[in-house]
């Protein structure tokens, strides 16, 4: 039996294709609004704060800390940790902890950095490991 959770394909669409293209190159992109200056997540064409259409892709430093997490221990083939990670840019994204992370050693506030995991369709999906 596999000890690694299979990651479903992210089902890209035209609006978020740049995010997935960058992920394949090992980059985590986020969006910032050129008008109000705010970062937001998940990335949108229209800023959810000021509704400007002048949003731009920016590469995140890929570092942050765990805002919350939960290890699914039953009802799934392989236990895994879902988490909200607050990036140093100040926005919080849903993610998983990377395969091989000590699931019993996680804590809120823990420093983490981005890594990438291959999904079933070959896409690279951002996950996080302890920094």
């Amino acid at each position: 039996m596999s000890t690694v959770r299979k990651m479903p394909a992210p089902l890209p669409n035209p609006e978020n294709q740049p995010y997935w293209d960058a992920a394949k190159e090992g980059k985590l992109l986020v969006k910032r609004c050129k008008d109000c200056g705010e970062f937001h997540f998940y990335p949108r064409a229209i800023c959810p704060f000021c509704f400007s259409d002048q949003t731009e892709w920016v590469e995140s430093k890929g570092t942050g800390s765990i805002y919350s997490y939960s290890v699914m221990r039953r009802g799934v083939p392989v236990p895994f940790a879902i988490a909200y990670v607050t990036l140093d840019e100040g926005i919080t994204m849903l993610t998983n902890m990377a395969d091989g992370t000590d699931l019993d050693g996680l804590s809120i506030g823990q420093k983490v950095k981005v890594a990438f995991k291959a999904a079933e369709d070959g896409s690279a999906v951002p996950v996080f490991t302890p920094a």
Binding site: P8, L11, H40, F41, Y42, P43, R74, G75, A83, I91
Partner: protein, 388 residues
């Protein structure tokens, strides 16, 4: 315009089944509708408004109006997940006040138990859902998305697993008196915290049941309600509020009930202190804790202390809740608990709850719902009702 006093809940029916492999979803909707119409003392041809949500099979309510042979002049398919049916009561009251219908029927039904649904599996998504790419790969299902809310609440406020367990314990004390409840055994705090962890920090007994079944409500104008033989349950105030990830400014410490509750209290012109009975959506124990805080029954962060030591048990605590056993023990048909929340509140206000859990002279009740995923995006709804 306020809907305070503009509409009454004249009929309520909870389908007795919890496992229905031999029935269709449409059939369960119609059986629930029959029950509510009969409870009100009306007939099918009196219905001129129909309200349903995503559990109604087919295209919105169109399939169910056709299946049931209804002739309606008002139709509403507002969808906020499991809280939809509380919002339907509000929207029915608005439609009645505006003269758009006289007798509104609301139905919910589904068969997730027969179909093998689980709170550990993400629901199927399509590519047009805007968040799908950023969430679908990560396996966010109900159990772990609510688990993250509980984890953060514990971190910020020191809430404990034992305090959360008291919510399940209270529900089980009530469910023992409900012959239809899926789980009727009284459990202890130790039972809950010793049950297997599903998604940290939630144990199996922190999770609601998965059941087949359904329910239905009849909302009508005052003159019609007063012409019927049933006790009068008046709609006093309502509130609805979606809450999401706020563009990445995620805050899991509160729910949309922070906004829906005050709106309902203002319209009803009452305060949390006036409420004698509450139906609180209990997909998980943490869902109850956060709503109680956000509705103002206790201060933010004090929910753990508030629910401990049996404070939610009827006849024992200060705020009796979910006296049918709730979603935690009784019923969560279609993976949506909103309609059963309203139904048990109506029973309490009519004096028709089980005698062992009936709140004495219950005149003012509140139902609160959270639909969708508390940890991602959800719809909160609050509904205050008065026995006249």
């Amino acid at each position: 315009m306020s809907i305070n006093g503009k509409a009454y809940i004249a009929g309520a029916f909870e389908h007795p089944t919890r496992l229905a492999p031999d029935k269709s979803v449409a059939q369960l909707h119609a059986e629930a509708a029959r029950g509510a119409i009969a409870d009100a003392g009306l007939s099918k041809n009196d219905i001129d408004g129909y309200f349903s949500a995503g559990d109604a099979p087919g295209l919105g309510g169109l399939a169910m109006v056709d299946y049931m042979g209804l002739k309606v002049r008002h139709i509403d398919s507002t969808e906020t997940g499991g809280s939809s049916y509380l919002i339907h009561v509000a929207h029915a009251a608005q439609a009645i006040a505006a003269g758009k219908c006289n007798v509104a029927l609301i139905t919910l039904a589904g068969r997730p138990r027969s179909e093998g649904s689980s709170g550990t599996q993400p629901r199927a998504q399509n590519t047009a859902t805007p968040d799908v790419g950023y969430e679908w790969p990560y396996g966010g299902a109900t159990a772990n998305m609510y688990g993250m809310c509980a984890m953060r609440h514990m971190h910020e406020y020191g809430t404990t697993a034992e305090q959360l367990a008291w919510i399940k314990v209270a529900a089980s004390h009530h469910a023992q008196h409900n012959p239809h409840a899926m789980l009727r055994e009284v459990v202890t705090v130790e039972d809950v915290v010793n049950s297997p962890v599903i998604a940290d920090p939630l144990h199996r007994m922190d999770c609601c049941v998965v059941t087949d079944g359904g329910g239905a409500l009849i909302v009508t104008r005052p003159e019609i309600a007063k012409s019927l033989k049933r006790p009068l349950v008046k709609v006093l105030g309502t509130g609805e509020a979606p809450k999401g990830q706020m563009g990445g400014k995620v805050d899991l410490t509160y729910s949309g009930a922070r906004w829906a509750g005050p709106a309902a209290f203002a319209e009803a012109k009452v305060t949390p202190k006036d409420i004698q009975y509450v139906s609180i959506y209990d997909s998980f124990t943490i869902t109850v804790l956060m709503q109680l805080e956000d509705l103002g029954f206790c201060a933010k962060g004090q929910g753990g202390h508030f629910v401990a030591d049996g404070n939610l048990i009827s006849g024992r605590g200060s705020l009796p809740f979910n006296t049918d056993g709730g979603g935690l023990c009784n019923n969560h048909p279609a993976n949506r608990g909103g309609i059963t929340k309203v139904i048990e509140a109506v029973r309490q206000l009519r004096g028709e709850a089980h005698p062992a859990v009936q709140v004495k002279d219950c005149r003012l009740a509140l139902a609160s719902g959270i639909g969708g995923l508390l940890g991602a995006r959800h719809g909160a709804a609050a509904l205050i009702m008065e026995r006249e």
